[in-house]
């Protein structure tokens, strides 16, 4: 574990904890967000038979760094009639909410911010901060578009937490744990041990679980997609209706915080989906470190697989974004309450029956 290593290195619990908590931010989230924004622009461009940013660096890979530099220099505008303390607090809280999620995500066998037993539950709970702070941003902005966007966002995230939770409960019934580290360790070995293929072990129930797990995966993926406000569920920031939704009034670095939080969230939910169904940081075909007998290579390989899976799901999110049109509010609610929740509930019952038998 990284914590022990840092503890030995610095000799102080506080310093070790601080460094460990800052590691994912500076080593992972910021570079990832920079990369993902560029990647999204490239993917969207290529899907529309364009080339996208091409001028800053090779195929424009430095474009986001230039954008961030621009955002940093921009004037920080605070409109006269906003509720100043809340207006200034909201972007920080949004980012905090999405960053807190990373505490319980196992990046590799050797790095997990906090190995808590209630990992999944903690993630779902702490992402509630994002709802509150989005609502805070919308309300404090004193702007009708911001408020509408924030209300929609709150309604959407709260509704879609229900199918997410039900799927999580389904997984818990099979694995008996909410700890993401244990969950990932259970799916070790080869890819047929992943939860999407019925989890470890070779009983009859494994094969019974496969179709149910696929359904559960789809539900979890759709509802987490809705929770991070991505197209086709981007009605909170529907630019054709609401200008920019809850961050209409924000500029400069505060806007960048919302942006960063959105991309951090995207990775967080992709990480959860991969940790729950696709073995988290586990390699699908065993490790090079094992075959070569190099102990320290395994965590690095695990980190690679974790990032690769996360990026793949992010790619699918972007792919969906540039494929599907935005849902209407009533369609959004109908999808959640009429389809996802009943199906996930039936799924839960069947999985429960199988595990009991």
């Amino acid at each position: 574990m990284i914590y022990d290593f840092l503890f030995e290195l610095t000799g102080s619990e506080f310093l070790a904890g601080l460094i460990q908590s800052l590691l994912p931010l500076f080593l992972f989230i910021l570079p990832f967000a920079l990369f993902a924004v560029w990647w999204e622009r490239k993917i969207s461009a290529h899907m529309q038979d364009r080339l996208g940013p091409m001028r800053v660096g090779w195929h424009g890979w430095l474009q986001t760094i230039a954008d961030i530099l621009k955002l940093l220099q921009k004037e920080d505008i605070v409109p006269r009639d906003v509720d100043k303390p809340l207006f200034n607090l909201a972007p920080v809280l949004v980012f905090m909410g999405s960053y807190a999620v990373f505490a319980a995500i196992p990046f590799s066998g050797a790095f997990i911010g906090s190995n808590i037993d209630l990992g999944l539950f903690y993630i779902v709970a702490v992402s509630g901060i994002v709802v509150a702070s989005i609502l805070m941003a919308g309300w404090a902005s004193n702007n009708k578009y911001s408020l509408l966007g924030a209300m929609r966002s709150a309604a959407q995230i709260i509704s879609y937490e229900i199918p997410t939770m039900i799927v999580v409960v389904t997984i818990v019934m099979i694995t008996g744990t909410l700890n993401l580290y244990t969950l990932s360790e259970m799916q070790t070995g080869y890819f047929w041990n992943w939860m999407i293929f019925g989890g470890p072990g070779f009983g009859v129930d494994k094969f019974l679980f496969i179709p149910l797990m696929i359904i559960a995966f789809f539900i979890l993926y759709i509802s987490t997609l809705a929770e991070v406000n991505r197209t086709p569920f981007d009605i909170p920031e529907a630019e054709s209706e609401l200008v920019a939704g809850y961050h209409t009034e924000y500029s400069g670095m505060k806007f960048a915080m919302f942006f960063l939080a959105e991309y951090a969230n995207m990775f967080a939910v992709s990480a959860i989906v991969s940790a729950v169904f696709f073995g988290g940081y586990q390699s699908p075909f065993g490790y090079l470190g094992n075959t070569l007998g190099i102990e320290w290579l395994i965590p690095i390989e695990q980190f690679f697989w974790f990032t690769a899976k996360g990026l793949f799901f992010i790619f699918v999110q972007m792919w969906l974004r540039w494929t599907l049109p935005r849902l209407r509010v009533d369609q959004l609610m109908a999808l959640c309450w009429k389809y996802l929740i009943p199906i996930s509930f039936v799924n839960l019952l069947i999985v429960g029956l199988i595990t009991v038998l």
Partner: protein, 196 residues
């Protein structure tokens, strides 16, 4: 039943759509990197005008053809002693073109000025990137004469005119004088006859 049909339909349409976008992801881009890569312009493109002043005879036909009056031409006659040369198609130039200005802020790129030109000296180029921050910068002056030369040509011509007028006047005066003299002689000559 409708419920399951809805689920099936939405999933299948989503997958169809995703297949389309995935296919496009690997298709080459149809756009070009404009300032670096440029499309070849069509054969009869209409862009910024250019006037080859070596060939211009100052006939004012283009200015008269212009539907928006964006061409201003001012000419001064040359002196008989001055040789302005010939145009490339053998026409003799007789006018100093002291002003030839095209205002591209007004120009509508209709190409109507190009056809009447007897020497084919006004034509379309392939330059289409000439935006300006100031509207006055879009006024292009094609006259090859310097302001001093223009003043000189005008003065020359004015002097020549004056000279001509003076000569004419003198001539006229001389004629009148001569006629008067002749008339006087005549009367003198006739008078004695009558007396005889």
């Amino acid at each position: 039943m409708q419920y399951f049909r809805n689920i099936y339909q939405s999933l299948s349409t989503i997958f169809t759509g995703m297949k389309v976008t995935l296919k496009h992801l690997f298709e080459p881009a149809v756009t070009i990197q404009y300032p670096d890569v440029r499309l070849t312009l069509p054969e009869r493109e209409r862009n910024r005008l250019y006037v080859n002043m070596d060939d211009c005879i100052g006939c004012d036909q283009c200015a008269r053809a212009c539907p928006v009056n964006c061409i201003t031409i001012e000419t001064v006659k040359s002196l008989p002693t001055e040789d302005l040369g010939k145009t490339s198609n053998g026409k003799k130039k007789v006018l100093w073109v002291t002003e030839f200005e095209i205002d591209f802020a007004k120009c509508c790129y209709c190409q109507l000025c190009v056809f009447p030109c007897p020497t084919e000296c006004i034509y379309m180029t392939d330059v289409f990137e000439f935006s300006e921050y100031n509207r006055d910068n879009l006024k292009y002056n094609f006259s090859t004469l310097t302001p001093e030369e223009i003043v000189e040509k005008k003065e020359n011509f004015a002097k020549f005119e004056a000279e001509k007028a003076r000569l004419k006047a003198e001539e006229a005066a001389k004629k009148a004088e001569a006629a008067k003299l002749a008339a006087e002689k005549n009367t003198e000559a006739v008078q004695p006859k009558k007396e005889n």
